[in-house]
Symmetry: C2
Subunit: 341 residues, 2 copies
DNA sequence: CTGAAAGCGCTTACAG
DNA sequence: CTGAAAGCGCTTACAG
């Protein structure tokens, strides 16, 4: 293995000079720097990451704590992961991906062994058991998902309250008077997926304000159950003219369900979903939807995290809570209700 | 930060004794070990990963080089990734996920900086530009995907040749005489995705042997194009009674296409796909399919890689080439042809 | 502008 | 069975 000592020898300088020439942390005369860089090139030198981490206490690695739960749509998580890894790389960091169920333990392990400079937590629950650990950890952490208590954290999420209102308003403005909202399974809520009721409560409140009927259900998250569920909702509410989906699995299953019933959106029913643009493209979902902004949320979390890491304790960056306002990707699945009276 | 020196002091022993008590690399009297372990517990000591890596030249981290290409079905890749990370963790390793497009550069960076003990390469192409780098690297690597030259590597893949034969045989045995095979897009092949033609060529050869007609197409990988493509194939071959899919995007799009045409599998047409069991569950795909064994392939690659890492240069483990025989998940989408003459 | 030296926190031959 | 010391490959005050 070629070390900085080899480089120094080849360039005819001391190890410290070689190091400074590479880090740029003090000025080095041009000819000397040239010689060092030439030696690096010739010998193919790359600093040893472990040695550098030991000396600087910086690993240039971020820990990404993700959860791939059966009852949330695993592939939708991929968009967040890619947003995080790509932004991290752009900022000079590598990403350690942790998918183990025991996030608490993983967090403790990576933190106390100083393997990473900071953490990104995905899928944060309302009372997330990882948060106390993160608070006590020497490394900062940013999260995607809104916990009950955000103090001391950098938090990024879609504004699900505004999203619920927007879904309802969009259809009511078009003339719809009765609609069905399909949320994620109830155990997602029980586990602390607060975004489910944030959207649902906001939608219900807005429906009431506007004097329209909103039927709310917790659907299954995967087939065949969600298909059966959707048929059931449509059977139960034959006069409903709008369908709101806060459930990726339901969105993926809906085209088959509509086909089976001989229905077309928006001719027979208007549909608004909530999922990422990439997800829609990948799964061919033809429905107008609120973009869940997965990639963007992952990237923002990383940017803030890196700013905090590199700012050091001195700058004392204030903690942020960013709720991204919902944006609608119009795919033409909404229209005035045909069966409207 | 609590170091092994603190532990040693608290336990009243030397640092080396504390270290040995923890690693178990030489025998330590029970009372001394007890004291050391108690001190570790009390102080909450965890070894510093960078320092350990520097001293031992082992990082206990694997590098996972994945590619998320637009024209291959990104969510299908997730299954491989999870197989890798979960198996790695079970064997005591963390996983550095690299998704950057420039895999060659990433490999070089992680290898020369000694950030990882070994590599898992996903989505390996026939003439993969990462392989020369891997050959020259000091760390071993295992791969999922079959390159043209496997010498010096541990290679794992689905047996796509047997898969192509199995698809054809399954339908021919049921009485089908004309079918359509939809492969991944042609640019996947151009880029070196040899599995596409491995399956297609085997299927064509077997069809010829058995005296049946097989129409072969390279379909798009995502909507709306693949939907249009599928309609086109079905229009072009109205007498075909079987559909073989080596294209996840096509499988995801097929339910809508069949619905739109008023067709049902297997009543009107028999369908066999090729994708992972998890993928089928997540996307509600109702088709009989050859399991792509994504999770299993990822796990096998990791097991072999770790065995090679831990075996050291001494044991000189022979390199393996494992092609997993195809297994069919029967979801009831095949039957004797109704329109058979 | 440059060098010699100390130190980061471990592990592991070398002695006893 | 245990300890003192060297060394892994960097960075960075301390001197000049």
């Amino acid at each position: 293995m070629v070390t900085i000592g080899d480089v120094a020898k080849a360039a005819g300088v001391s190890r410290s000079t070689a190091s400074y020439a590479l880090t740029g942390k003090r000025s080095i005369s041009t000819p000397v720097r040239q010689r060092v860089l030439a030696a690096v090139e010739e010998l193919g030198y790359t600093p040893n990451a472990g040695a550098r981490a030991l000396a600087t206490s910086e690993t240039k690695v971020l820990g990404l704590l993700s959860r791939f739960l059966d009852d949330e749509f695993a592939p939708a998580m991929l968009q967040y992961v890619l947003g995080v890894t790509n932004e991290a790389r752009a900022l000079g960091y590598d990403t350690l991906l942790v998918s183990e169920e025991d996030g608490v333990h993983a967090l403790q392990r990576l933190s106390s062994s100083r393997m990473v400079d900071g953490f990104v937590l995905l899928n944060v629950a309302e009372h997330d058991d990882r948060l106390p650990i993160l608070s006590a950890a020497p490394q900062p952490g940013a999260m995607v998902g809104l916990p009950a208590d955000t103090s001391g954290f950098d938090v990024f999420d879609l504004d699900f309250v505004a999203s619920g209102r927007l879904m309802v308003d969009s259809l009511v403005d078009l003339g719809h008077r009765e609609m069905v909202l399909v949320s994620q399974p109830e155990d997602v809520v029980v586990r602390g997926g607060a975004y489910v009721w944030r959207l649902a409560n906001a939608a219900r409140a807005r429906a009431e304000e506007r004097g329209v009927v909103l039927h709310h259900y917790f659907g299954a998250s995967s087939q065949p159950q969600i298909g059966t569920d959707l048929h059931g909702y449509l059977d139960a509410h034959p006069t409903a003219t709008g369908l709101l989906l806060n459930n990726e699995g339901a969105a993926a299953a809906l085209p088959s369900v509509l086909s089976a019933r001989g229905l077309h959106a928006p001719h027979d029913i208007s549909v608004i979903g909530r999922y990422s643009t990439d997800f829609a493209r990948t799964f061919s979902l033809p429905f107008t939807a609120i973009d869940s902004a997965a990639d963007e949320l992952g990237r923002r979390a990383v940017r803030q995290l890196v700013a905090r890491i590199e700012g050091g304790a001195t700058t004392a960056l204030p903690h942020v809570l960013e709720l991204i306002p919902p944006a609608i990707d119009d795919r033409g699945s909404t229209a005035p209700p045909r069966k409207a009276l």
